[in-house]
Amino acid sequence: MRMNIDYDEILSYLGYKGHQADKNTEDLISHCLAELRTLAREKYVYDIFKLTSNEGSLSLEASILTLTGRDIKNHLRHSERAAVMAVTLGLEVERQIAYYSKTDLTKGVIMDACASAAVEALCDRVEAEIRSRAFSQGFYLTSRFSPGYGDFPLEIQAAVAAVLDTHRKIGLTVTTNSLLIPRKSVTALIGLQRERPDQLCSDSKCEACFKQDCEFRRDGN
């Protein structure tokens, strides 16, 4: 399976921040990536909704989803529609990470980082699919925006999962504490808008985040 995983992203999850990995770590990463390719059962689901604004609240038409928080509204301020997407790598990857956490923590940590990068790569592929669909209808896309970014509450995960029927369709569940399980999963919203989004905004997910000292925060370089 071609996963197009961003190697630098793996290194950044492992705290390298632009440094080169040593040979041993590199070998471990390529070992974990090879294993990940056989273990991942990539699945995704998305749907596109019309956005309706009513007395300051933003909703997805014909669904139960109402979007709360300043940041998501700002993110979708030029959008007519929104794509709601969910992706997961499945449970086998979880099992292997749990296994390595018991037997070889170094590999556990590296596998975890590889899986995080893989789920991002999967998001990119789904986004590309949405982009080509949107483009044919004359829309540009905003960047992805996920529950938990900025003041967009994590608690909306359950509603997002219900709207996409993620449990039945891709095996993605949400706990009572709004955690996604399998862990290596992502939900996100993408705005569809007529005008081309300004570049500053297109990679804004880090900038929009309140966690200033995040280890993975992109420095803008």
Binding site: L14, G15, Y16, K17, H19, A21, D22, N24, T25, D27, L28, R41, D47, I48, A62, S63, I64, L65, G90, L91, E92, R95, A98, Y99, S101, K102, T103, D104, L105, T106, G108, V109, I110, D112, G148, L154, E155, A158, A159, A162, V163, L164, D165, H167, R168, I170, G171, T173, T175, T176, N177, S178, L179, I181, P182, R183, K211, D213, C214, E215
Partner: protein, 792 residues
């Protein structure tokens, strides 16, 4: 409870209805809306759909209660009772002369260990639905669209313990032939038919065509009627809408193929409508239920795999049993489940296909430790487990929480034992080992043992346990004390296999007890017993002699086709995933800094010949750790290298502790203090916590690791029990920081004299103070410094 089968006749075809959800969507149900709310808001709509299915010829109408559980209904503020009662009323009204099936879908939560739902919680959720449905007058129960076999087990237990209604269970498979949680069809059948469901099968996810290969597998093994409810094809997105495009005629022609394969209960899932049901009805009128040949297997399963006994040899690993094993005994006594898990991993890696688990020691709560051990082992290895205890209550508790079909070790021919254990074996759908001894002891002759074996098999049968689920152990006596008996055992194995047609096992190594060169006798006896018909020897898989004998035997008997396994083991090509350049003799310091953990233990043992244990800690381990730590902080090395070095120190430390324990009877000299670590309730991220753990251990702290998703009260209890002075809590999400705060509050409310450090991605110094923590640990290095300060 005894099932009441008076209303339903499985000897004929039974036709279920089709989809409800997709029918409601075309009538205005919005994405994310609760379909079950329509039982109260738009009952006429539900009734209309169900009447159409009845008119189309369905024998059974399924209630609109797929998601009527407290989790999903909670969002809308409805009670399970009102929704279920309304649903049954509507179905009755829609089809007064048909049977009504209480529909139960998955809870929507993922089970432990990957999710947070425990078996007991899942059981409660389903029991509530079952009780509501049976008291409102449902005729049968349909548990459907299960993708997690563990959740299905919880639902089956809830249904059978709280009603006497016939129970049908369907599972959803993906196009790759497995469920979303990784269960294959044989494993599904093996587990569910053991649990005593009245019919089983497959539904949803796939269209009829894609479903066929899975159906073929299921009918091959299922001893109970088989059910299939496919979608109307695979979902396609057309102009932004999801459509299912297989029409009634095509659908019915597949139903016909399924019926010919042996499926007797049919219906439809997503995308089907009364037209599909009507078309199946028309096809069924010309057909008679097929009688497929069923393969009756002796097989045990984990949640994701099944081991079929025979014709090749399957090894049962015996190492998780404290008898005569000092280290394991100590590990069990101090509650070190990790040690047990590692024993499981080592045996699996060495080629064991089933693992015996026995934690019986007088000083411990055997039931609690057994349950914990089973839970942890099944998280990490998917080898089926053999539950081994002298106590029926321990066996039952373990069988209940086991995520699969276990093998129970063991029952003898004593009447009382059989009366106690067979109901447990039957209820939890286990296989069982029968020992050929009874009230009069072990018969001296092979014929005598055969007689007991035959009695065990017959008695099991009366409890509804098929003989395939009984494995006979003809008992090995020691060659030193009862030399003439050795051949009787061998003879008995052959006799039992021939006369009873059951599979056999033996605890092989007993033969050599009391004689020198035990391994020589063991492997020779093993070869004899295998030739006599032994199917599943219980041995130490780390004993290469024994495994070699099994591998060779499998070749010579033509079980290991083309000697594939044998060649892989002995061709000399050893797979080495990580090429390492072997440097010359490194000193321990270098070994640690380079993270060469495979070399650390031997080097430490070497050094112990010249140096005191403490000197090694002071002169090698601590300076190397400090060096690595500094390089990490200065950005010269990174997280993977830090962890690798820490794991290297850990294996050096293990050797030092063993030496101290042996020479001084205690490790007090290196113990710096006890720290409790936990990932808080609701949170399942534990890698960060595990990194903290290994680093703390490196610096001589003993860590009591409670794992992840740990309830507040467990932390409180363990802090009291272990007299803990420092607690480390981890939470990764804003939503679970609340549990962290609650845990700290619970500790304070008890007035416990302990300090709390917290860590996790969303925390910072300020936030940590806000929730009442004493310290914020930014990373694992910081946690060590905090610990040193607290215990300094």
């Amino acid at each position: 409870m005894e099932t009441d089968m008076s209303k339903i006749d499985f000897s004929h075809f039974i036709l279920f209805d089709g989809a409800m959800g997709t029918m409601l969507q075309t009538r205005g149900l919005q994405p994310g809306e609760l379909p079950e709310s329509y039982n109260l808001l738009q009952p006429h709509l539900i009734e209309q759909i169900q009447r159409a299915y009845a008119d189309a010829g369905a024998d059974i109408i399924t209630t609109n209660t797929f998601g009527a559980n407290r989790f999903k209904l909670g969002r809308g503020g409805y009670s399970v009772e009102e929704i279920v009662a309304a649903a049954i009323r509507i179905a009755r009204r829609a089809a007064p002369d048909k049977l009504v099936a209480l529909d139960i879908g998955p809870s929507g939560q993922l089970m432990q260990p990957y999710g947070t739902l425990s078996l007991a919680e899942a059981y409660d959720i389903f029991a509530e639905q079952v009780i509501a449905g049976s008291s409102a007058g449902a005729d049968l129960i349909l548990i459907e669209t299960m993708s997690d076999i563990y959740e299905a087990k919880a639902a089956v237990l809830a249904a059978k313990e709280n009603s006497n209604l016939p129970l049908l269970v369907t599972v959803s498979f993906q196009a790759d032939g497995r469920t979303l949680t990784g269960t294959d069809p044989l494993t599904m059948v093996n587990i569910l038919q053991g649990l005593g469901v009245d019919a089983l099968g497959i539904n949803c996810s796939l269209g009829p065509k894609e479903m066929l290969p899975v159906v073929e597998e299921i009918v091959k093994y299922s001893r109970v009627p088989v059910m299939a409810q496919p979608n109307a094809g695979m979902p396609k997105v057309v102009e932004g809408q999801t459509v299912f495009d297989i029409g009634p005629e095509e659908f019915a022609s597949y139903a016909r193929i399924m019926a010919e394969l042996g499926v007797t209960i049919l219906g439809g899932c997503c995308g089907t409508n009364p037209g599909h049901i009507k078309a199946i009805r028309a096809k069924l009128t010309t057909l008679k239920p097929a009688q497929p040949d069923i393969e009756k297997l002796t097989a045990v399963s984990s949640s994701t795999g099944t081991v079929v006994l025979g014709p090749g040899i399957n090894v049962i690993g015996e190492r998780i049993n404290p008898t005569g094993k000092k280290q394991l005994k100590e590990a069990i006594e101090r509650g070190d489940i990790d040690y047990i898990v590692h024993q499981a991993i080592d045996q699996r890696d060495a080629g064991a296909q089933i693992l015996d688990v026995n934690v019986g020691l007088p000083a411990i709560d055997e039931k609690e430790v057994m349950v914990k051990a089973i839970r942890e082992i099944q998280t990490v290895v998917n080898t089926p487990l053999q539950i081994d205890s002298a106590r029926a209550d321990v066996i039952e508790a373990a069988a209940r929480i086991y995520n699969g079909k276990p093998l129970i070790n063991s029952v003898s021919g004593k009447r009382e034992e059989m009366e106690t254990l067979f109901p447990i074996v039957k209820k939890y759908g286990a296989a069982v080992i029968g020992l050929t001894l009874d009230e009069n002891g072990i018969p001296p002759t092979a014929e005598g043992r055969l007689q007991i074996a035959s009695n065990i098999v017959d008695t099991a049968c009366r409890y509804g346990i098929p003989k395939e689920d009984v494995i006979i152990d003809c008992l090995v006596l020691t060659a030193s004390a009862q030399q003439s008996q050795v051949q009787e055992t061998i003879k008995a194995v052959t006799l039992v296999k021939e006369k009873l047609g059951v599979k056999t096992t033996l605890g092989v190594s007993n033969v050599s007890f009391g004689l020198p060169q035990r391994r020589l006798l063991n492997r020779t006896f093993l070869a004899l017993a295998l030739q006599a018909g032994l199917d599943a020897p219980i041995i130490d898989p780390l004993d290469e002699d024994m495994m070699a004998t099994v591998r060779a035997f499998n070749v010579l008997k033509n079980y290991d086709r083309d000697a594939t396994v044998y060649i892989a083991a002995y061709s000399g090509v050893k797979e080495s995933p990580i090429p390492v350049i072997d440097q010359a003799d490194l000193d321990l310091n270098q070994i640690i800094i380079n993270g060469r953990k495979e070399k650390a233990a031997a080097k430490t043992a070497d050094l112990l010949k010249q140096l005191e244990p403490l000197a090694i800690v002071d002169q090698y381990l601590i300076p190397a750790l400090d060096d690595v730590g500094q390089r990490y902080e200065q950005g010269e090395i990174f997280l993977p290298q830090l962890i690798q070095a820490a794991e290297t120190v850990k294996s050096a430390f293990t050797v030092i502790r063993q030496q101290l324990q042996a020479s001084q009877g205690t490790c007090a000299a290196v113990d710096k203090g006890k720290i409790l670590l936990a990932t808080v309730r609701g949170d399942i991220h534990d890698i960060g916590k595990n990194i903290v753990k290994v680093l703390l251990e490196n610096y001589g702290f003993e860590v009591v690791d409670l794992g992840k998703d740990v309830p507040e009260q467990d932390v409180v209890r363990q802090v009291k029990q272990h007299n803990i002075r420092l607690v480390g809590l981890s939470a990764l999400m804003t939503t679970t920081v609340r549990s962290m705060e609650n845990t700290i509050r619970a500790l304070r409310a008890e007035g416990l004299d302990c300090q709390v450090m917290v860590g996790g991605a969303v925390l910072n110094e300020e936030y940590a103070q806000l929730i009442g923590a004493d310290y914020f640990g930014r990373d694992a290095r910081e946690a060590v410094k905090i610990a040193q300060q607290v215990f300094g």
